[in-house]
Protein backbone atom coordinates (compact mmCIF):
# COMPACT_ATOMS: atom_id res chain seq x y z
CA UNK A 1 0.00 0.00 0.00
CA UNK A 2 1.20 3.45 -0.89
CA UNK A 3 -0.18 6.96 -0.64
CA UNK A 4 0.48 9.49 -3.38
CA UNK A 5 -0.56 13.07 -2.68
CA UNK A 6 -1.85 14.94 -5.72
CA UNK A 7 -3.00 18.20 -4.22
CA UNK A 8 -2.73 19.42 -0.64
CA UNK A 9 -3.28 22.93 0.64
CA UNK A 10 -3.78 21.72 4.20
CA UNK A 11 -7.55 21.76 4.26
CA UNK A 12 -8.42 20.46 0.79
CA UNK A 13 -6.53 17.35 -0.21
CA UNK A 14 -6.58 14.79 -3.00
CA UNK A 15 -4.48 11.67 -2.76
CA UNK A 16 -4.30 8.21 -4.31
CA UNK A 17 -4.19 5.12 -2.16
CA UNK A 18 -2.42 2.53 -4.32
CA UNK A 19 -2.47 -1.28 -4.17
CA UNK A 20 -5.21 -1.43 -1.60
CA UNK A 21 -8.71 -2.89 -1.44
CA UNK A 22 -12.24 -1.46 -1.02
CA UNK A 23 -12.51 -2.76 2.54
CA UNK A 24 -9.49 -0.82 3.72
CA UNK A 25 -10.28 2.30 1.68
CA UNK A 26 -13.77 2.44 3.14
CA UNK A 27 -12.55 1.74 6.67
CA UNK A 28 -10.17 4.66 6.37
CA UNK A 29 -12.85 6.94 4.97
CA UNK A 30 -15.26 6.07 7.75
CA UNK A 31 -12.57 6.42 10.42
CA UNK A 32 -11.78 9.94 9.17
CA UNK A 33 -15.43 10.87 9.49
CA UNK A 34 -16.25 9.23 12.80
CA UNK A 35 -13.20 8.11 14.78
CA UNK A 36 -11.22 11.33 15.09
CA UNK A 37 -12.23 13.34 18.17
CA UNK A 38 -13.03 17.02 17.78
CA UNK A 39 -14.04 19.74 20.24
CA UNK A 40 -17.54 21.20 19.98
CA UNK A 41 -20.04 22.90 22.27
CA UNK A 42 -22.42 20.29 23.65
CA UNK A 43 -24.08 21.98 26.61
CA UNK A 44 -25.24 25.59 26.96
CA UNK A 45 -26.29 27.33 30.15
CA UNK A 46 -28.45 30.29 29.18
CA UNK A 47 -28.83 32.90 31.92
CA UNK A 48 -30.43 35.56 29.80
CA UNK A 49 -31.76 35.52 26.26
CA UNK A 50 -34.06 38.30 25.14
CA UNK A 51 -33.19 37.92 21.44
CA UNK A 52 -35.57 36.77 18.69
CA UNK A 53 -34.08 33.27 18.59
CA UNK A 54 -35.27 30.55 20.95
CA UNK A 55 -32.71 29.11 23.38
CA UNK A 56 -32.69 25.79 21.49
CA UNK A 57 -31.98 27.38 18.11
CA UNK A 58 -29.27 29.55 19.62
CA UNK A 59 -27.65 26.54 21.33
CA UNK A 60 -27.78 24.59 18.07
CA UNK A 61 -26.04 27.40 16.19
CA UNK A 62 -23.35 27.64 18.86
CA UNK A 63 -22.81 23.87 18.69
CA UNK A 64 -22.09 24.03 14.96
CA UNK A 65 -19.23 26.51 15.36
CA UNK A 66 -15.98 24.56 14.85
CA UNK A 67 -13.48 24.90 17.69
CA UNK A 68 -9.77 24.23 17.37
CA UNK A 69 -7.99 22.87 20.38
CA UNK A 70 -4.90 21.09 21.64
CA UNK A 71 -6.05 17.46 21.53
CA UNK A 72 -3.21 16.27 23.80
CA UNK A 73 -4.49 18.44 26.63
CA UNK A 74 -7.98 16.99 26.91
CA UNK A 75 -9.47 13.60 27.74
CA UNK A 76 -12.57 12.05 26.30
CA UNK A 77 -15.26 12.64 28.89
CA UNK A 78 -16.04 8.95 29.42
CA UNK A 79 -12.34 8.13 29.96
CA UNK A 80 -11.64 11.09 32.22
CA UNK A 81 -10.57 10.97 35.88
CA UNK A 82 -13.77 12.83 36.78
CA UNK A 83 -15.83 9.85 35.59
CA UNK A 84 -17.78 11.86 33.03
CA UNK A 85 -19.02 14.60 35.34
CA UNK A 86 -16.98 17.30 33.63
CA UNK A 87 -13.74 18.84 34.82
CA UNK A 88 -11.05 21.19 33.41
CA UNK A 89 -9.24 18.29 31.74
CA UNK A 90 -12.24 17.20 29.69
CA UNK A 91 -14.25 20.34 29.00
CA UNK A 92 -13.89 24.04 28.27
CA UNK A 93 -16.30 26.89 28.97
CA UNK A 94 -16.88 29.68 26.50
CA UNK A 95 -18.67 32.71 27.88
CA UNK A 96 -20.74 35.31 26.10
CA UNK A 97 -22.14 38.47 27.66
CA UNK A 98 -23.38 40.97 25.10
CA UNK A 99 -26.01 43.64 24.62
CA UNK A 100 -27.67 44.89 21.44
CA UNK A 101 -27.89 46.46 19.02
CA UNK A 102 -25.12 44.51 17.31
CA UNK A 103 -24.30 41.31 15.47
CA UNK A 104 -22.67 38.71 17.71
CA UNK A 105 -19.81 36.81 16.05
CA UNK A 106 -18.11 33.55 16.98
CA UNK A 107 -15.03 35.62 17.87
CA UNK A 108 -16.95 37.30 20.72
CA UNK A 109 -16.84 34.16 22.86
CA UNK A 110 -14.43 34.37 25.78
CA UNK A 111 -12.79 30.98 26.24
CA UNK A 112 -11.36 29.61 29.50
CA UNK A 113 -8.59 27.96 27.53
CA UNK A 114 -6.57 30.18 25.16
CA UNK A 115 -5.93 27.19 22.85
CA UNK A 116 -9.61 26.31 22.49
CA UNK A 117 -11.06 29.01 20.26
CA UNK A 118 -13.38 29.12 17.24
CA UNK A 119 -11.69 28.29 13.94
CA UNK A 120 -13.36 31.29 12.31
CA UNK A 121 -13.88 34.55 14.19
CA UNK A 122 -16.45 35.97 11.79
CA UNK A 123 -19.36 33.51 11.91
CA UNK A 124 -22.49 35.55 12.66
CA UNK A 125 -24.16 33.76 15.59
CA UNK A 126 -27.10 36.06 16.21
CA UNK A 127 -28.22 39.61 15.58
CA UNK A 128 -29.29 41.56 18.65
CA UNK A 129 -31.55 44.59 18.38
CA UNK A 130 -32.02 47.57 20.69
CA UNK A 131 -32.49 46.45 24.31
CA UNK A 132 -31.82 42.75 23.69
CA UNK A 133 -29.31 40.94 25.83
CA UNK A 134 -27.50 37.64 25.85
CA UNK A 135 -25.70 36.02 28.76
CA UNK A 136 -24.63 32.41 28.46
CA UNK A 137 -21.97 29.82 29.14
CA UNK A 138 -21.28 27.24 26.43
CA UNK A 139 -19.53 24.05 27.50
CA UNK A 140 -17.41 22.32 24.86
CA UNK A 141 -16.13 18.76 25.04
CA UNK A 142 -14.50 16.19 22.79
CA UNK A 143 -16.75 13.92 20.78
CA UNK A 144 -16.87 11.65 17.75
CA UNK A 145 -18.55 12.14 14.41
CA UNK A 146 -20.72 9.05 14.88
CA UNK A 147 -22.40 10.89 17.78
CA UNK A 148 -23.22 14.15 16.00
CA UNK A 149 -22.10 15.73 12.73
CA UNK A 150 -20.68 18.74 14.62
CA UNK A 151 -17.90 16.43 15.89
CA UNK A 152 -16.81 15.54 12.35
CA UNK A 153 -13.37 16.91 11.41
CA UNK A 154 -14.11 16.61 7.66
CA UNK A 155 -16.99 17.72 5.47
CA UNK A 156 -16.31 16.11 2.10
CA UNK A 157 -14.59 12.75 2.49
CA UNK A 158 -14.98 10.47 -0.51
CA UNK A 159 -13.05 8.05 -2.68
CA UNK A 160 -13.51 6.58 -6.12
CA UNK A 161 -11.92 3.58 -7.72
CA UNK A 162 -9.53 4.46 -10.52
CA UNK A 163 -10.17 2.69 -13.82
CA UNK A 164 -7.96 0.94 -16.32
CA UNK A 165 -9.14 1.61 -19.88
CA UNK A 166 -7.76 -0.35 -22.86
CA UNK A 167 -8.75 -0.49 -26.52
CA UNK A 168 -8.03 -3.79 -28.26
CA UNK A 169 -7.39 -4.77 -31.89
CA UNK A 170 -11.04 -5.11 -32.93
CA UNK A 171 -11.58 -1.33 -32.77
CA UNK A 172 -12.99 0.02 -36.04
CA UNK A 173 -12.35 3.68 -35.14
CA UNK A 174 -16.06 4.45 -35.28
CA UNK A 175 -15.50 7.24 -32.71
CA UNK A 176 -18.83 6.69 -30.98
CA UNK A 177 -17.02 6.32 -27.65
CA UNK A 178 -15.26 9.65 -28.17
CA UNK A 179 -18.62 11.41 -28.49
CA UNK A 180 -20.46 9.57 -25.72
CA UNK A 181 -17.82 9.74 -22.97
CA UNK A 182 -18.81 12.46 -20.47
CA UNK A 183 -15.26 12.72 -19.07
CA UNK A 184 -13.41 12.93 -22.43
CA UNK A 185 -11.32 9.85 -21.78
CA UNK A 186 -10.90 9.10 -25.50
CA UNK A 187 -9.48 11.07 -28.38
CA UNK A 188 -8.73 10.48 -32.06
CA UNK A 189 -5.10 10.48 -33.07
CA UNK A 190 -4.06 9.58 -36.67
CA UNK A 191 -7.43 7.91 -37.32
CA UNK A 192 -7.03 5.67 -34.29
CA UNK A 193 -9.07 6.04 -31.09
CA UNK A 194 -6.76 6.39 -28.13
CA UNK A 195 -7.14 6.64 -24.38
CA UNK A 196 -5.84 10.04 -23.35
CA UNK A 197 -7.26 10.54 -19.87
CA UNK A 198 -7.69 7.27 -18.02
CA UNK A 199 -7.53 9.09 -14.70
CA UNK A 200 -10.85 10.91 -15.28
CA UNK A 201 -12.82 7.74 -16.04
CA UNK A 202 -15.62 7.16 -13.53
CA UNK A 203 -16.48 3.67 -14.84
CA UNK A 204 -19.88 4.81 -16.12
CA UNK A 205 -19.63 2.22 -18.94
CA UNK A 206 -21.40 4.42 -21.50
CA UNK A 207 -18.60 3.60 -23.95
CA UNK A 208 -19.21 -0.14 -23.57
CA UNK A 209 -22.87 0.36 -24.54
CA UNK A 210 -22.10 2.16 -27.81
CA UNK A 211 -19.11 0.07 -28.88
CA UNK A 212 -20.39 -2.48 -31.41
CA UNK A 213 -17.07 -4.31 -31.68
CA UNK A 214 -16.66 -4.76 -27.91
CA UNK A 215 -13.24 -3.24 -28.32
CA UNK A 216 -13.08 -1.38 -25.00
CA UNK A 217 -11.89 -3.11 -21.84
CA UNK A 218 -12.78 -1.42 -18.57
CA UNK A 219 -11.40 -2.77 -15.31
CA UNK A 220 -11.27 -1.53 -11.75
CA UNK A 221 -7.77 -1.09 -10.40
CA UNK A 222 -6.63 -1.39 -6.79
CA UNK A 223 -6.09 2.37 -6.64
CA UNK A 224 -8.44 4.78 -4.89
CA UNK A 225 -8.63 8.51 -5.36
CA UNK A 226 -9.53 10.20 -2.09
CA UNK A 227 -10.94 13.72 -1.89
CA UNK A 228 -10.97 15.09 1.64
CA UNK A 229 -11.94 18.55 2.85
CA UNK A 230 -11.29 19.52 6.44
CA UNK A 231 -13.69 21.68 8.45
CA UNK A 232 -10.72 23.59 9.86
CA UNK A 233 -9.98 22.16 13.32
CA UNK A 234 -6.93 20.32 11.99
CA UNK A 235 -5.26 19.70 8.65
CA UNK A 236 -6.35 16.78 6.48
CA UNK A 237 -2.98 15.09 6.99
CA UNK A 238 -3.54 15.01 10.72
CA UNK A 239 -7.11 13.74 10.33
CA UNK A 240 -5.86 10.94 8.06
CA UNK A 241 -3.07 10.02 10.48
CA UNK A 242 -5.35 9.98 13.51
CA UNK A 243 -7.89 7.87 11.59
CA UNK A 244 -5.20 5.29 10.84
CA UNK A 245 -4.22 5.26 14.53
CA UNK A 246 -7.88 4.59 15.40
CA UNK A 247 -8.09 1.68 12.92
CA UNK A 248 -4.85 0.28 14.28
CA UNK A 249 -5.95 0.37 17.91
CA UNK A 250 -9.27 -1.23 16.97
CA UNK A 251 -7.45 -3.99 15.10
CA UNK A 252 -5.17 -4.56 18.07
CA UNK A 253 -8.19 -4.76 20.36
CA UNK A 254 -9.63 -7.37 18.02
CA UNK A 255 -6.43 -9.40 18.12
CA UNK A 256 -6.38 -9.45 21.91
CA UNK A 257 -10.04 -10.50 21.95
CA UNK A 258 -9.23 -13.36 19.59
CA UNK A 259 -6.38 -14.51 21.79
CA UNK A 260 -8.69 -14.73 24.78
CA UNK A 261 -11.01 -17.13 23.01
Amino acid sequence: MKVEVIRDDGFWTEFILRDSNPAFANAWRRAMKSHVPVMAVDYVDIYMNSSYLYDEILAHRIGLIPLKTNLEKFNLQNQCVCGGEGCPSCQVSLRLNVEGPRVVYSGDFVSDDPETVPVFDNIPVIELFEGQQLMLEAVARLGFGREHAKFQPVSVCTYRVLARVRINESCSSCRKCVQVCPRNVFSVDEDRVRVIDEFSCTLCKDCLKVCEENAIELTETDDFLFTVESIGQMEVREVARRALDAIKSKAQEMVSLMEEL
Binding site: R61, G100, P124, V156
Partner: protein
Amino acid sequence: MFPVRCFTCGAVIAHKYEDYKGLIDSGKSPKEALDELGIKRYCCRRMFLTYKSVLKEFARYHGAVG
Protein backbone atom coordinates in the same frame (compact mmCIF):
# COMPACT_ATOMS: atom_id res chain seq x y z
CA MET B 1 -29.83 34.15 10.62
CA PHE B 2 -27.61 32.61 7.97
CA PRO B 3 -27.02 28.86 8.57
CA VAL B 4 -23.62 28.16 10.15
CA ARG B 5 -23.08 25.08 8.00
CA CYS B 6 -24.28 23.71 4.71
CA PHE B 7 -27.25 21.40 5.35
CA THR B 8 -25.96 18.76 2.95
CA CYS B 9 -22.18 18.51 3.21
CA GLY B 10 -21.59 20.11 6.62
CA ALA B 11 -18.91 22.56 5.50
CA VAL B 12 -18.83 25.84 7.43
CA ILE B 13 -20.17 28.61 5.20
CA ALA B 14 -21.41 31.37 7.54
CA HIS B 15 -17.96 32.98 7.83
CA LYS B 16 -18.19 33.89 4.14
CA TYR B 17 -21.70 35.32 4.26
CA GLU B 18 -20.75 38.93 4.96
CA ASP B 19 -18.13 38.89 2.21
CA TYR B 20 -20.81 37.50 -0.11
CA LYS B 21 -23.21 40.27 0.83
CA GLY B 22 -20.47 42.84 0.23
CA LEU B 23 -19.76 41.45 -3.23
CA ILE B 24 -23.46 41.42 -4.13
CA ASP B 25 -23.82 45.03 -2.93
CA SER B 26 -20.84 46.03 -5.06
CA GLY B 27 -22.80 44.91 -8.14
CA LYS B 28 -21.47 41.41 -8.71
CA SER B 29 -23.78 38.59 -9.79
CA PRO B 30 -24.29 35.72 -7.32
CA LYS B 31 -22.30 33.44 -9.64
CA GLU B 32 -19.29 35.77 -9.69
CA ALA B 33 -19.48 36.28 -5.93
CA LEU B 34 -19.65 32.56 -5.14
CA ASP B 35 -16.82 31.75 -7.56
CA GLU B 36 -14.67 34.45 -6.02
CA LEU B 37 -15.31 33.13 -2.49
CA GLY B 38 -14.47 29.58 -3.55
CA ILE B 39 -17.85 28.04 -2.82
CA LYS B 40 -17.57 25.15 -5.27
CA ARG B 41 -20.30 22.61 -4.52
CA TYR B 42 -23.87 23.30 -5.52
CA CYS B 43 -25.18 22.22 -2.10
CA CYS B 44 -23.27 25.09 -0.48
CA ARG B 45 -24.07 27.51 -3.31
CA ARG B 46 -27.82 27.06 -2.91
CA MET B 47 -27.46 27.99 0.78
CA PHE B 48 -26.38 31.47 -0.31
CA LEU B 49 -28.77 31.76 -3.25
CA THR B 50 -31.91 30.82 -1.32
CA TYR B 51 -31.25 32.60 1.97
CA LYS B 52 -33.72 35.18 3.25
CA SER B 53 -33.30 36.91 6.59
CA VAL B 54 -36.44 36.97 8.75
CA LEU B 55 -34.88 38.43 11.89
CA LYS B 56 -34.96 41.95 10.49
CA GLU B 57 -38.63 41.48 9.59
CA PHE B 58 -39.40 40.47 13.19
CA ALA B 59 -37.66 43.59 14.44
CA ARG B 60 -39.85 45.81 12.27
CA TYR B 61 -43.09 44.51 13.78
CA HIS B 62 -42.15 43.71 17.37
CA GLY B 63 -39.95 46.63 18.27
CA ALA B 64 -37.43 46.07 21.02
CA VAL B 65 -38.25 43.91 24.02
CA GLY B 66 -36.20 43.94 27.19
